[in-house]
């Protein structure tokens, strides 16, 4: 039995965790398989007769101002949102774990400098920082968006990992490994990193929800994912002008955001219950 498999089974046993996991699984499958049976999200079905059309059998979520199928765009937006969230979180978890491990294991001056830098970074609101950077260039490539979100999201993670490392390095088995002649690299990556994997996994999962919200917010402000690439935040931005006459254009991406964030949080909480039964 691997630890990862056991954790997943544990999440599945909790009803809320199962609901969240099932929804995310469904969403990922839909995002991957959607193009097989849904119309092209960029296709305009006829600006005159099919702009802002009500939901119908042909267009279950209706169409937008440009007569594009809203369902296709929501599904396509899922691909973008999930990809941005997954990659950005992967980046921030890597950075956070790296800095936390180094600070916690080496301690002393290294720890002091790194953690004061993190303190400083945590004092700046993340959204302001992102707005400042993103507002300058004309267009922001998707990769740059991912890197920026990832690079501004690891501060709290590094503190968490550092705290865990400080605890674990006092464990007898770390001293036993040192007495065995294990190298520093080995102790850091094998004994410390692997034993922080639990809390790290929980933060990462909860972080995905945060990043989806953040990306939607940035896109809503026109600073995130750039049109015509569909994104949930961008769709709500487009829907502003027709919110009263054609509410489905904005409601469905809104529901998608809400459900996805809810699902990741349910999974994250269930994961925490499994991996860290002591925590409240």
């Amino acid at each position: 039995m691997t630890a990862g498999g056991g954790a997943l089974r544990g999440v599945w046993r909790a009803s809320s965790g199962r609901a969240g996991l099932a929804f995310l699984l469904f969403l990922v499958l839909l995002a991957l398989a959607g193009p097989l049976f849904l119309p092209d999200p960029f296709r305009q079905f006829g600006l005159l007769e099919l702009a802002d059309a009500r939901p119908s059998a042909e267009h279950p979520f209706g169409t937008d101002q440009l007569s594009r199928d809203v369902l296709s765009r929501v599904v396509s937006g899922a691909r973008v949102s999930l990809a941005v969230a997954a990659l950005a979180v992967a980046l921030s978890v890597t950075l956070g774990a790296g800095v936390g491990l180094v600070a916690g294991y080496l301690g002393g001056a290294v720890d002091g400098v790194l953690m004061r830098l993190v303190d400083g970074a945590l004092a700046v609101p993340r959204l302001f920082l992102l707005l400042l950077v993103l507002a300058v260039p004309e267009r922001v490539p998707l990769v740059a968006l991912i890197v920026l979100i990832g690079a501004t999201g690891w501060f709290a993670t590094s503190r968490l990992v550092r705290a865990e490392v400080l605890r674990i390095r006092e464990e007898a088995y770390v001293r036993a490994a040192e007495a065995l002649g294990a190298s520093r690299r080995r102790i850091i990556f094998r004994h410390l990193l692997v034993n922080t994997a639990g809390p790290l996994l929980v933060t990462a999962t909860l972080g995905v929800g945060d990043v989806i919200l953040l990306e939607a917010g940035l896109s809503f402000l026109g600073l995130g994912v750039q049109p015509p690439t569909p994104s949930w935040g961008g769709m709500i931005l487009d829907a502003r002008s027709v919110l009263v006459t054609a509410p489905w254009v904005g409601i469905f991406p809104g529901i998608a955001i809400t459900l996805t964030v809810l699902a990741t949080n349910l999974v994250g909480d269930a994961l925490r219950d499994v991996l860290d039964p002591r925590g409240a």
Binding site: E171, A172, R175, A176, A177, A179, L180, G181, R190
Partner: protein
Amino acid sequence: MTRVLDVRDLRVSFPTADGRRFHPVDGVSFTLHRGETLALVGESGCGKSLTSLALLRLVPPPGRVDPGSVVRLGDTDVLALEREALRRIRGRRIGMIFQDPMTSLNPVFTAGDQIAEGIRAHFRISKAEARERALRLLQEVGIPDPAERLDAYPHQLSGGMRQRVMIAIALAAEPEILVADEPTTALDVTVQAQILEVLDQLRRSRGMAVLLITHDLGIVAGRADRVAVMYAGQIVEEAETAELFANPSHPYTQGLFASVPRISGPLRRLTPIRGTVPPPAEWPTGCRFRPRCPQAFEKCVLAPEPLPVGPGHRMRCWLAEPDAASPTRREPVRATSAQPERSGGD
């Protein structure tokens, strides 16, 4: 006999809040020869575990081994080594077994993984070969179904099996010295005997030297060639095991024997040593056992050096001086003037 380990005047110190340093290990000297077992005996807090950690420079910061201490492994001056050279000695020349097999194994790796880690830290061999050797080690330490235990996680093993795994890990790089820090404290009495038997067999088959650290004189009796008794950071008496048991000379050693129940002989009341071991920051000047010693006299305000009692038998006590044997000087002096007697509880 080949001398494999030479420890001289070992001092380990920790800083106090007011900027001074106190010395939980204060001038410990001993030697260890190939194939012999030396037992380091003492109460909790006497510095015996710190002594063992200092051998591999594993004293946790902010503690440190003080300059002037000597730890010599064959021709190697351990205290002068650079980090990588030090790493190569850890496990390879001195293997360590820790007190608590419940916490000394990493919960997320299998027994086989952890033994293989010890092998691969020192030998360039493939994972498959390391696994093969790990299996042989598990057989050697007498684990039932070794092939199956190789893939077991620590929580799937009993305490005795975990301690055997710990021994296998300590032996992984074929060290010439094995340091066993209270290897049986956490185990049932029957398992204790088995573990000690395994250690003894390994010592004989591999010609290892064993430093056995314990608070249990009963363990020492059958297993050790020599015994060093520690009190308050110093070795207070050292002798061959039979000699020490026949002729315990330091009042502290005598006190230890008097407080252990005997199975044979007439039934008698146990005599505890009065008081408790004071914490390192409050050790008295002069002889450190003085405040608790029933035989203390005037000279005890001076710190005794190790003095000969008999062949290979030394103790840190003024009673070892020939003229100290006169009855007048032996008259117990209740903890005198400067040093008020400490109350029993802590």
